[in-house]
């Protein structure tokens, strides 16, 4: 074994504090050290050329470079090794700048310490094995789960680059929550008008052929890994041909069955065959088979008979379908839910009429809602006073400790919309904290404050409020003192993870944070990445956020997809991974229980564990855990680390 040691002076950064001559004397006679060379500045063009030429000439078996931190120039030197025809993993860097020269006062001691470090590296590098990066094929296609603003923006952006995207949406329509709103903050823009161009682009635009929309669908299984996910999607029957139907709606009126309309929180009725709401896209009705007379054994064909396109558009024999997609990446954009206001019983939600959640109130304001946008109480009266309760279940350790950050904004929006629809209506904001960060948000607050019929009251705690019916009014009493009467109460509950996200998290193996939101890889640097490689997060499934942020995060996921999952490019796999020795494996599966990436597979037939190199991130926790010594890690083998320990202590 011929090991070459290169000592970089780093200009004078190292040579001022570490004496290379002393180091040479101490390590020069260590077995395997064939030569010891000093150079002024190895990362300079001149230094790199020197290293290249010297390696070519000396042809060492292994190389030790004592220089700066490997976090600085390890990859630089690895490239030089490759260029000189040497496997880059046959090199070990020694950090004698950050961890020796710069932190040791005494030149003798620093030189001594540097020698110990180098001896460790020499011992270790002798055991290095040449490693190669592997490359496997990737599918460039993408699956987006959830057709709200975040998911749609991600899908559209990816499709615009010519890539195939499948969108899986559990509802019969796309657009998420905001398409159900009349106006959105901060500038009271018409929400459907804002979203429609994007929806149209997705359904009928230039790149629509790249987008497959699967409504009434959910992901039921995911196997594989980044670049090669196999996703199973279950699609509920719609009973109406999605491609042939022209959306005229002639089928709806003849339907003899009426049921409560869930899109309007049950405040009005819809037919067993219906469109979700006016303007819902795709503009194709669906049959609710739980309500349809045919499910009760009757041979009703009134909708079918009313169809101007004739037979075959309404498909009573439509069936549930399970299909499979092979995709390289998955974007999770399943949105969120409102905290259940009934969990704070003193607020009277669900018991007292005209106590609404913010979402229900959005529908009352919406022209596609149950009252066609007329602000009415449940008995048809026009409200004269409306109380808006902020911070419902937020900033509260018994419910949700965080602030959702968007409720104040839509509460101010409600204030202005009420004033527009019913001028002179008294509006009272009861809040714990008010937040309005951002360049546009303050102005909405300012306008709400300027509403002469608006009052702002800090209640500190919604738990001390008691909401009760008092004749034809609602009394909001603060047990800490004070009360007020209103005709209508609007609750602004915390944004919480949607109910289905737990199940989806399990299917995807994607972790969720302590609140139940999908957990990001890094809160600041990688908030649109999950902890599973190739699974990205967009919108409120990751954290409460507004539409702008959700859209931006959707774009971010598209960025990851387009930069990482490039058509024709192979997936490079870092070779520093764990590997299992089948002969030693006893099948105990301890490794599987400690692996944070579910990268260890178990062959039940052979009763042996093996490492999936694509999923393994090389932490080595399984290696330390294996009681049989069957696990080992490339480059950080037990032998190499033992040798390094021996070396640094020598």
């Amino acid at each position: 074994m011929r090991t070459g040691v290169y000592f970089c002076n780093c200009g004078s950064n190292i040579s001022d504090r570490v004496d290379s001559e002393q180091v040479r004397q101490k390590v020069g006679n260590v077995s395997d050290v064939a030569y010891f060379k000093t150079f002024g500045l190895m990362c300079s063009e001149e230094g790199k050329e020197f290293l290249h030429n010297d390696i070519t000439e000396e042809k060492p078996d292994r190389i030790v470079i004592a220089a700066c931190s490997p976090r600085d120039h390890e990859s630089t030197f690895m490239r030089i090794l490759s260029g000189a025809g040497m496997n880059p993993y046959l090199m070990q860097m020694v950090n004698i700048r950050e961890q020796v020269a710069w932190v040791t006062d005494d030149l003798q001691k620093a030189s001594e310490k540097a020698s110990h470090f180098i001896k460790g590296a020499v011992k270790r590098v002798g055991l290095h094995k040449p490693l190669e990066k592997k490359a496997i094929d990737m599918s460039p296609d993408v699956l987006v789960i959830g057709a709200g603003p975040a998911g749609l923006k991600a899908a559209l952006t990816i499709a615009e680059s010519g890539r195939k995207v499948a969108i899986v949406e559990k509802r019969a329509v796309v657009g998420g929550e905001p398409v159900l709103y009349e106006e959105v903050f901060p500038n009271l823009e018409c929400a459907p008008c804002m979203l429609e161009p994007m929806l149209n682009e997705i359904l009928h635009g230039e790149h629509a052929e790249n987008i497959e929309i699967l409504t009434k669908s959910e992901v039921i299984d995911v196997a594989g890994f980044y670049g090669n996910f196999i996703v199973k999607v279950k699609t509920e029957p719609r009973f109406v041909d999605l491609h042939q139907c022209i959306g005229c709606g002639e089928c709806i009126a003849p339907c003899p069955v009426s049921v409560r309309n869930e899109f309007n929180n049950g405040r009005d009725d819809r037919k067993a065959i219906s469109l979700s709401f006016a303007g819902g896209l795709p503009n194709v009705p669906f049959i609710d088979m739980n309500a349809c007379l045919r499910a009760k054994g009757e041979d009703c064909r009134l909708c079918d008979q009313a169809c101007p396109l004739g037979e075959g558009i309404i498909k009573f024999d439509d069936e549930e379908l399970v299909s499979e997609r092979n995709v390289g990446a998955i974007v999770v954009a399943v949105g969120s839910a409102l905290y259940d206001s009934a969990l704070i019983p003193n607020l009277g939600y669900g018991k007292i009429p005209d106590v609404y959640t913010a979402f229900e109130f959005e529908r009352l304001l919406s022209s596609t809602g149950p009252t066609s946008g007329q602000l009415q109480m449940s008995d048809g009266r026009v409200p004269e006073s409306i109380a808006i309760l902020h911070c419902v279940g937020s900033l509260d350790k018994n419910h949700n400790e965080y602030c959702s950050g968007i409720c104040c904004q839509y509460a101010f929006k409600f204030n202005l919309m009420i004033e527009h629809k019913l001028p002179g209506t008294f509006v009272t904001h009861l809040y714990k904290e008010l937040v309005y960060p951002g360049k546009e948000e303050y102005f909405l607050y300012k306008r709400a404050k300027e509403n002469p019929h608006a009052t702002f009251v800090r209640t500190v705690n919604v738990n001390t409020l008691e909401i009760n019916r008092k004749s034809d009014k609602i009394e909001i009493k603060n047990t800490a003192g004070g009360s007020l009467m209103a005709d209508m109460v609007v609750l602004c509950p915390a944004i919480v993870p949607s109910k289905s996200s737990g199940k989806l998290g399990e299917i995807l193996d994607a972790t969720r944070d302590r609140f139940g939101f999908f957990e990001e890889l890094h809160g600041r640097l990688d908030s649109a990445k999950s902890k599973v490689r190739g699974i990205y997060l967009a919108g409120t499934c990751q954290s409460p956020m507004n539409i702008q942020q959700a859209i931006t995060q959707g774009m971010a996921t598209a960025g990851y997809v387009l930069s990482g999952l490039v058509e024709g490019r192979k997936l490079e796999i870092e070779p520093i991974t764990a590997f299992a020795d089948e002969d030693k494996c006893s099948g105990c599966r301890v490794c599987m229980s400690v692996c944070p990436y579910k990268a260890i597979e178990f062959n039940t037939e052979k009763q042996k564990a093996s490492v999936n190199e694509v999923l393994c991130q090389g932490c080595g926790t399984c290696v330390a855990a294996c009681p049989a010594g069957a696990m080992n890690s490339n480059h950080f083998t037990n032998d190499a680390i033992f040798a390094e320990i021996e070396g640094v202590l020598a």
């Binding site: 950090n95 932190v103 926790t621």
Partner: protein, 161 residues
């Protein structure tokens, strides 16, 4: 009698010499410590201290691992066997582990290891587990300096593993 006195004096002299040497050795004792640093947080924290040119005792020999969860208890025993007087394991702070939870594994293994070391007569203070983030150069220097002082006070490791 005279002869006896002479040999007694000689013996006394030898004993004195030995005691003096030991005292001198102890006074000059520089502990050898092996520090297992994880690639993402504590190793970067050590680099941070370097970047800030904060001087600290040169007694810690760093062995980099990708994750503190890679630190096999055998590595620690190997270090003592090879002549280390102390071992330092530095991890990412709870919740910050680059590999999600390797630091928790390292913590659990350290607890287990301490119980075993005690049985071998190795003081718990000779094996310290702590957290250093990539930004905490000062904390790295503080922990490292404390460790060197602690092990210096304990003296050389004499217990056999």
């Amino acid at each position: 009698m005279k002869e006896d006195n002479g040999s007694a004096n000689e013996a006394l002299g030898e004993a004195l010499n030995e005691a003096l040497n030991e005292a001198l050795n102890e006074a000059l004792f520089e502990p050898k410590i092996v520090g297992f640093l994880c690639n993402w947080c504590s190793y970067a924290g050590a680099d941070k201290a370097g970047g800030a040119q904060k001087s600290y005792p040169p007694n810690v020999n760093v062995v980099k691992v990708m994750c503190s969860g890679r630190v096999d208890p055998q590595f620690v025993l190997k270090a003592y066997d090879g002549g280390a007087d102390g071992v330092l394991i530095l991890a990412c702070h709870p919740g910050d582990c680059h590999y999600k939870e390797g630091n928790y594994r390292a913590l659990a293994r350290h607890r287990m290891l301490l119980r075993m070391l005690e049985q071998h007569g190795i003081e718990a203070a000779r094996c310290r587990f702590d957290y250093v983030s990539a930004g905490e150069g000062d904390r790295f220097v503080k922990i490292l300096t404390e460790m060197v002082d602690t092990v210096r006070a304990l003296g050389p490791l004499k217990a056999l593993v």
